[in-house]
């Protein structure tokens, strides 16, 4: 023992933490009388950011100009450009091609009949993934059809078909730029965080004014919200392309462009497809909010049904959204896996069998629809409905089990949620800022410490501290629960495909089923309040926790696992010592995304009456006060950025300690 080298540092790492925590505790317990300003930020020193932002938006909307045209004219132009493909797809799927406007419009050509749409979907499925995929796509669409959701579903589908390709292309390009230019990566990271975490309600009013009222504004809002994960994943995926491949590319003399598009992008196809999946899912997630600003479709049906407490109708419309999501997602995944085949020789028929049969189908179905209206539009008499079944299920649970549920809920609420909320609410802001600064400095140097302290300080300085504390409490507890459930489920799913298949369906459902559908029954059973909000947040934030864990574990190099096995590792050792460690970057990205998802649910939790920043944003929307909304929205984003930076820094520190990466 005497030979062990002595620690050369004079103080171990943890002494600093102990001192910091003791100081913090001293301030918290004895400081209130001495330093009242550390607990309540003095009103006289508040930064009037809300007023500034309001003035700025006013200027942007009314006066900002590029010389030849104003900013508002510029955005209106973008809206007009976006409107062209949207109108076309909408005409094709839903309204038919019209001449004239409004109630006097005359239909020149009817929209595609349900026969044609389902048939084309099945053909696409057959082409990309064989008979099973064809059956799946057709099944999803038939579900939408027989439950009477067709008209609304086609409106929703039209906006998704416009938003998703734009989101994927935009995200890919930004990701590539970020990969190529480190300065761009540094610049865009906070922007991505802002895009994903500022609640949509906060910038809804300016967007409506800039892009006009209607579906195009909804598409823009959807793009802002759905693009960031694609960008992040693109960048991460390109970085992880094995160097053997890029070396090979260099050896065979690829140009920079060839290297990117022929080597790196194809090599990172799997993670990129996770990105595409996320864009589709997040776009469908915006369906409810999009319907509030004029997009109509299934989102509107969900809202309207729940306002009359018709749970069955809400669930049917919600599941129609899920069905669309599943069909689109599986199709896009299959297309990505498609390997180019040598073109068959022969006439035009032999070369394009699918395209031609699709066109023939559309033509025949269209003509048949004119003769037999039931083929153009599914007759209402044959529509299925669950009617009052779901309402009665909820009633039955409510009448028979309410007391038990209430007891459990009260136990969790009074023993866990309320104490934690009080604890966070009572902390002095100055102490928290100092502690965060110290943590940032220890984990990632003085720059990080400064950034974290500045952001936290700004939250206090704009008068959002109290609401921010409630936000942190709700999202923090929900994230913990989501990770506690998500990690084990993700590990199990990655190990066994038999589990992954159903889990995938469940998490896709959770991510696309509008939370409103289960929120209102939850209100009936758990009453209005934090507990109900927590259920909604956990259900939604669970998704990335599972998805990224699976992604990370599955992309572990199988040779390393083999090597581990050859060296005599047990299954448990392979999992803990090899797979989980190598998958750490993805799992941490998953944690990061779980926090982001939890924060993005704040808008929804405001709808069940929490008193956090989400509610502040919601109030600002109803008062049409862009400044107030954006200040609260930015506070949300700051919380997200602080969490993100601290998580990344501690991940880097951990990996450096483990020898995976230079410090």
């Amino acid at each position: 023992m005497a030979t062990r080298p002595r620690i050369t540092r004079r103080f171990p790492v943890w002494t600093g933490w102990v001192v910091a925590l003791v100081l913090f505790w001293a301030l918290w317990s004895y400081g209130e009388g001495l330093l009242p300003w550390a607990f309540d930020y003095p009103k006289s020193m508040r930064i009037p950011a809300a007023r500034w932002i309001s003035a700025f938006t006013k200027w942007l909307l009314n006066e900002a100009s590029f010389g030849l045209f104003t900013f508002a004219e510029f955005t209106r132009f973008i809206a007009a450009v976006l409107d062209v493909p949207y109108r076309f797809v909408l005409s094709l799927l839903s309204s038919g091609f019209l001449k004239g406007e409004g109630s006097q419009a005359v239909q020149i050509l009817p929209p595609l009949s349900w026969v044609a749409v389902i048939g084309s979907g099945a053909l696409l499925g057959r082409y990309a993934g064989g008979v099973r995929l064809a059956a799946l796509v057709a099944g999803c669409l038939i579900f939408v059809l027989v439950f009477g959701q067709w008209q609304s579903a086609m409106v929703t589908l039209a906006s998704i078909l416009v938003a998703v390709p734009l989101g994927v292309a935009g995200g890919l390009l930004l990701g590539i730029l970020a990969f190529r230019h480190p300065w761009f990566e540094r610049a865009i990271r906070p922007v991505l965080d802002l895009m994903q975490t500022i609640p949509v309600f906060a910038y809804l009013v300016p967007i409506l004014i800039l892009f006009g009222f209607g579906p195009t504004a909804a598409v823009v809002a959807t793009l802002i919200y759905a693009m960031p994960p694609m960008t992040r994943i693109t960048e991460l995926a390109l970085r992880r392309v094995p160097s053997e491949l890029t070396d090979l590319g260099r050896m065979v003399g690829c140009t920079r462009r060839q290297m990117l598009w022929r080597v790196m992008v194809p090599a990172s196809k799997d993670p990129l497809m996770v990105g595409v999946n996320q864009v589709i899912m997040l776009s469908l997630n915006m369906v409810i909010i999009a319907s509030m600003i004029g997009a109509g479709g299934l989102g509107f049906d969900v809202l309207a049904a729940l306002r009359r407490l018709d749970f069955g109708a809400g669930l049917e419309a919600g599941l129609a959204i899920v069905a669309l999501a599943v069909a689109l997602d599986r199709l896009s995944q299959a297309f990505a896996r498609l390997r180019p085949e040598p073109a068959p020789v022969g006439g035009i028929v032999a070369r394009h069998p699918y395209l031609l049969s699709g066109l023939a189908l559309i033509l025949v179905a269209g003509l048949a629809g004119l003769a037999l209206p039931a083929l153009q539009r599914w007759p209402a008499a044959y529509e299925l409905s669950t009617g009052t079944f779901w309402s009665r299920v909820v009633e039955w649970i409510n009448v028979n089990f309410f007391d038990t549920i209430e007891a459990v809920k009260n136990a969790v609420l009074l023993n866990l949620l309320v104490p934690f909320k009080r604890f966070l609410g009572g902390l002095p802001w100055a102490g928290v800022v100092a502690l965060l600064a110290y943590g940032g400095w220890r984990l990632g140097g003085w720059r990080l410490g400064l950034l974290v302290a500045a952001l936290a300080g700004l939250i206090a300085a704009t008068g959002q501290w109290e609401k921010a504390a409630i936000t942190v409490y709700l999202c923090g507890i929900s994230t913990v629960f989501a990770m506690l459930i998500g990690l084990p489920v993700g590990i199990l799913s990655a190990e066994r495909d038999a589990i992954w298949a159903p889990v995938r369906v469940i998490i896709d459902t959770l991510q696309t089923l509008p939370s409103f559908v289960y929120l209102m029954p939850a209100v009936m059973l758990f009453r209005v309040g934090d507990f109900t909000a927590m259920i909604a947040v956990v259900a939604y934030a669970l998704v990335p926790a599972v998805r990224y864990t699976v992604l990370g574990l599955k992309s572990v190099d199988p040779r390393l696992v083999e090597a581990g096995r050859a060296m005599g590792c047990t299954q448990g050792q392979i999992l803990w010592r090899i797979k989980l460690r190598l998958a750490l970057p993805e799992i941490l990205l998953g944690l990061n995304q779980t926090v982001m998802f939890a924060l993005s649910m704040l808008v929804i939790t405001a709808l069940v009456g929490t008193r956090d920043l989400g509610q502040e944003v919601y109030i600002a929307l109803t008062k049409a006060d862009p400044g107030r909304g954006l200040v609260a929205g930015l506070a949300v984003a700051f919380i997200a950025i602080i969490t993100d930076r601290l998580i990344s820094a501690s991940a880097r520190a951990a990996r450096a300690r483990l020898g995976l990466e230079a410090a």
Binding site: E101, S103, V205, G212, F213
Partner: protein, 317 residues
């Protein structure tokens, strides 16, 4: 196909001609009416839209959020919003009309009623109701309590965005109640449905015209009647030191819209201003749709058939 073409074309030209004949030169662009997410508003808007169509106007329904729509109304992207409640939309409406780009098209004739409400079965536990003074009794308040609020009663208020001054009211009238705010009205009625199914205690904010008072048996608490002084002047009422020691106001439901409607469609402007309907009619129609499963279109068609004289007068026929 050619046949349908012909029919549609004919119908359109007939409509166009009547428009031209009835109102001189008016724009043939569609008048965009906003639809929100509650039944009463859908009915009101559909009624107005159908009446305008009868007068030969081109009408388009656009889904829009109740409050976010003001952005569209100001820019002229949207034209008419048929229900703007004094009680919930007043601030946004005032802010918008102050810009001069929107204007109020007058009251719809319906009156918004909002107040504390309880199911009839609660009268057994609290016999003094509907008089508000019964709520001051501790046993009565406790009957309305839950684990979180006990011994105080629990009052489920509307979303904070609705305002309503319930926190102030509880303080001014010294009621042993705690105010919990629901986030949306869907949450509000979900709680009512839940409690009603179990015949459990509940006290909450209910408004009319709505289907809830038709579906559930209950009544509104009778507070000291609202006057403007009560809200502005602390000295008024039983609590000399605080305002809000009275009930909630009845409010008009307004029609608002883009200021350009008057010049672009003068005839439609007159028709929209003339539109009126009352609470009883609207309540009956909402009940038909939300509880008896009729569609909004069926109900509007029914009203149009029964009240031909009235709506024809709005469009000057």
């Amino acid at each position: 196909m050619p046949k349908t073409f012909l029919k549609c074309g004919l119908a359109a030209s007939v409509l166009a001609m009547t428009a031209a004949a009835g109102w001189g030169q008016e724009s043939n662009d569609p008048i965009k009416l906003t639809l929100h997410d509650w039944t009463g508003q859908l009915i009101t808007t559909n009624l107005m839209g159908e009446v305008l169509k009868q007068a030969g106007y081109n009408v388009e329904y656009v889904q829009a959020d109740y409050l976010a729509q003001f952005a569209g109304l100001e820019s002229g992207d949207l034209h008419v919003a048929m229900e703007m409640w004094e009680t919930t939309g007043r601030d946004a409406m005032d802010a918008s009309t102050a810009t001069g780009k929107t204007e109020v098209f007058g009251p719809t004739g319906m009156k918004a009623k909002e107040e504390w409400w309880y199911p009839t079965y609660m009268k057994e536990k609290c016999p003094g109701l509907p008089n508000w003074e019964a709520l001051k009794d501790e046993a009565c308040a406790e009957a309305f309590s839950t684990a979180e609020t006990a011994p105080k009663g629990r009052y489920l208020g509307g979303p904070v965005t609705w305002g309503g001054f319930d926190d102030e009211r509880v303080e001014a009238l010294d009621l042993p109640f705690e105010v919990i705010h629901a986030g949306t009205d869907a949450a509000l009625f979900a709680e009512l449905e839940s409690a009603y199914q179990r015949q459990a205690p509940i006290m909450l904010w209910i408004y009319a015209p709505h289907w809830a008072p038709a579906k559930y048996e209950g009544e509104w608490v009778e507070f000291p009647e609202y006057t403007a002084e009560c809200y502005n002047d602390p000295a008024w009422g039983m609590n000399p030191d605080m305002a809000y020691d009275c009930g909630k106001p009845f409010g008009e439901i307004w029609k608002v819209g883009w200021a350009g409607v008057k010049d672009k469609w003068p005839g439609a402007y007159e028709a929209i201003k003339a539109f009126t309907i009352d609470n009883a009619e609207m309540g009956a129609m909402i009940t038909e749709v939300d509880l008896n499963g009729q569609t909004v279109e069926q109900v509007t068609a029914g009203w149009m058939a029964a009240n031909e004289g009235r709506w024809k007068a709005w469009i000057g026929q």
